[in-house]
Symmetry: C2
């Protein structure tokens, strides 16, 4: 292949993509129908999982609801798979017991990989489906005293990206993927979280963004969406500047494993 | 705090950091001495681990060499910890057995987290040490048919970043961290790998970059270093352009779990 031709190809794609993105600003996004679709939600017992189940129910989907202790390896005819592995214990690396590190990974990513593995063959046969990986802002940006949690959420983001790439290589364009990356949600996972970047998310806001993301086939669903700017700055700015920015955003929390701060 | 002051602070740091980086281009990097330091290497039986052990031996370090089956939870007086979890089986998600997914995570990141957890208290008491996490280019960029592998390497990168952040928050500036991210190495992990971006790495090149990175306290050691450009492009370019670029770089391999292609 000719390097000049390669360069022109990249340039043409670049211009086309930016023009397309500009046009799309003025065209409302199409939302797909999920009526009659079989939707499996793990961690459906509470929080985001529970609220998401209600949203799919409103849209006449057929629901299969699991919670973490009931994630079994069954093969079924599922077209949308949402993982949402409920409340998790977290801790800084020093106070984390060995089995807690494993458990964190199991809850945050391994169970989701096993579940995906069980349902993917059916989805691939039909070239139809949608796999939603529930990650976190912590899968992109790290926070102190959440080493094992961040690591498992990085794994979730990596899983989503690698799965997306593999499905694309295999030509399975009917199977969509989304990755949900919210900042702290008020579900009692951490106690008294606060940051200068904005208020703590409520479950409803996250589920609204998630549903919009699923129905419009968004690959990465950042809540709030300005996290994308952070990702870009992370690549552009030197380490010392990032450390100052980090200090200014002032992410704080008192303790992990708490109760919902209201109710 | 005043947003204008914040902005000025960030700007000042930014200018200072860029100036410093420019000056450093002309000043040779200082290399620390590792003579007499206790160095623990996991996966020391072969490949990068083995060659790294020789390098530390040349520099008069005291060596503790483990291989994957011998990673025990002992507390010792270790000042440099290098994980390098040898040959690993990989497979695409569909052909991966459940226990293989777990095994991949155990080998690639969980064992390293356990080991780090065992040695960190001693390092923190002395505020002295260096923790090297062996990740991969696959911890930043995904490749098809390596879903579980990529996911576990993303976890390794996340672990390194979160640990670095936590040590900084705790003021433990005597404990350094490095993360090694090489592209394919000729150790028989994949069969006949090829890419247009350059030749497959030999163990010696990787170890040379690793040693230079450790001795100069580099946080992220990319081999080859132009991966940094890829990371930036990933944030700047639209998805379609990235897909074209991806196709042009043409990363390929025949099979996983093979033998070293020479010898």
């Amino acid at each position: 292949m000719n390097p000049l031709l390669d360069f022109l190809l990249v340039l043409a794609t670049l211009i086309y993509s930016y023009l397309e993105a500009f046009v799309k600003l003025f065209v409302p996004a199409k939302r797909k129908s999920v009526a009659g679709e079989l939707v499996l939600i793990t961690g459906a017992g509470h929080g985001v999982g529970r609220a998401t189940a209600f949203e799919f129910a409103k849209r006449q989907s057929r629901l299969v609801l699991w919670d973490i202790n009931k994630v079994k390896k069954e093969i079924g005819d599922v077209s949308i798979l949402v993982n949402n592995a409920g409340v998790i214990t977290t801790a800084d690396l020093l106070s984390t017991q060995d089995h807690q590190i494993e458990r964190m990974f199991e809850v945050n990513i391994l169970a989701h990989m096993w579940t995906t593995r069980a349902f993917l063959p059916t989805m691939m046969n039909n070239n139809h489906g949608h796999i939603v990986t529930v990650a976190s802002a912590a899968g992109h940006f790290v926070t102190s005293f959440m080493v094992a949690y961040c690591s498992s959420k990085f794994a979730a983001v990596g899983f989503h990206k690698a799965l997306t790439e593999e499905l694309s290589t295999l030509g399975k364009d009917g199977i969509k993927t989304s990755c949900l990356c919210p900042v702290f949600i008020n579900t009692g996972f951490v106690k008294n979280p606060s940051t200068r970047l904005g208020k703590i998310l409520e479950v409803d806001e996250v589920v609204e963004a998630l549903m919009e993301g699923i129905l419009t086939n968004q690959k990465m669903i950042f809540v709030p969406s300005f996290q994308r700017v952070g990702l870009l700055l992370e690549r552009l700015f030197p380490e010392r500047t990032l450390a100052v920015l980090n200090k200014l955003t002032n992410v704080k929390f008192d303790a992990v494993i708490g109760q919902r701060s209201t109710q």
